[in-house]
């Protein structure tokens, strides 16, 4: 079972607690910004994808709150804050 498993299945092993709102958003109008494409590569959870129209989309389910996308893309294109208290990923091992 330690063979390579799908990313979603791997994320499914973690505990995620629901938040009232999305804690990461692409700033409106920045969907096509080149900087966002970096997130597609660097995000350890693979949450970013570019659609056929070239817009980058994010789905925050499975976010590990690692901060890589914020550092790679910058605050001009991403609105990024931590999930509310007690929400988001909760590592059991860490």
């Amino acid at each position: 079972m330690s063979e390579v498993m799908g990313l979603k299945a791997k994320l499914g092993l973690n505990v995620f607690k629901e938040d009232k709102e999305f804690h990461i958003r692409i700033k409106p109008g920045r969907e096509k910004d080149e900087r966002l494409k970096k997130a597609v590569i660097v995000c350890p959870s693979g949450l970013y994808s570019a659609n056929d129209a070239g817009d980058v989309e994010i789905s925050v389910d499975g976010c590990l709150e690692c901060g890589t996308c914020l550092i790679a893309c910058g605050e001009e294109v991403l609105e990024w804050h931590y999930p509310s208290g007690g929400a988001g990923v909760q590592f059991r091992f860490g």
Binding site: V15, K17, Q90, R92
Partner: protein
């Protein structure tokens, strides 16, 4: 008049892991069940309207002393608890006996609120058992509580009907999850929670010993999943399967 809320310390099931079909209980944080929080919220709302104190009663392991702060932060005024590591895994019979004894310590108790099922087991027995032990009337499946003088006016929501019932206090009320949305305490409420009055007793200090366990668990495993897991490529293929399995056409 005080309002008693009975709460059960349960493992945070979101933190539960299954390893080789066995639940891994070690290191799972303890909390209160969702419906217990609804029960507490109902009590706090009633107190805010009618006065009195919200007294939280609970039984569990020694960590309960910590867990109970959650309830104090969310509006409980004081607590009476049995915190004893020998009481970490109580069944309904034991819980009922202990809770009934704790509730007896509340002098001016008009109303005792339970959630309709604990977060972990959901047997929904304890409220009724306590009502019987204390010889109090009870109403279950409650979605609304109105205090009207000495009387309670309750909305009882069953599968196919809704009843409005009246009962004289003191009474046991067992609530469902639909009746409110529990508040999320602020940091300063959490800080104050630790300073609220609490009474803690151990199993040895009970007036009567807790009842014996009435259940034996033979096994408790995650269900075995044994599915074909065949990948199909197209809707046509899907339709074909529906046909061969006999769900469309032919019959």
């Amino acid at each position: 008049m005080d309002i008693v809320v009975a709460m059960k310390q349960v493992p945070d099931l979101q933190q539960l892991r299954i390893r080789n079909r066995e639940p891994v209980m070690a290191d799972v944080p303890l909390t209160f069940g969702k419906i217990d929080k609804n029960a507490l919220e109902a009590a706090v709302l009633l107190k805010e309207e009618h006065g009195g104190e919200v007294v939280v009663v609970a039984a569990g392991s020694e960590e309960l002393e910590d867990t109970i702060k959650e309830a104090m932060a969310a509006g409980g005024d004081r607590s009476i608890m049995l915190a004893d590591d020998k009481a970490g895994d109580l069944d309904s019979a034991e819980s009922a006996e202990i809770l009934a004894q704790l509730i007896k310590q509340v002098d001016d108790c008009g109303l005792i609120i339970f959630g309709e099922g604990s977060g972990d087991n959901y047997s929904g027995q304890v409220g009724s058992r306590v009502a019987e032990k204390l010889d109090l009337p009870q109403v279950g499946s409650v979605t609304q509580i109105i205090i009207d003088g000495e009387k309670l006016r309750l909305t009882r929501s069953l599968e196919d009907s809704v009843e409005i019932v009246e009962v004289m206090m003191p009474a046991v009320v067992i609530v469902t999850a639909d009746l409110n949305e529990p508040r999320i305490p602020s940091v300063s409420q959490v800080l104050k929670a630790g300073r609220k009055p609490k009474e803690i007793i151990s199993l040895d200090e009970l007036e009567q010993p807790a009842a014996e366990k009435t259940l034996t668990t033979l096994s408790n495993l995650a269900p075995e999943v044994n599915r074909k897991r065949i990948t199909i490529k197209s809707v046509e293929e899907l339709v074909e399967i529906l046909k061969t399995e006999g769900f469309v056409g032919g019959n």
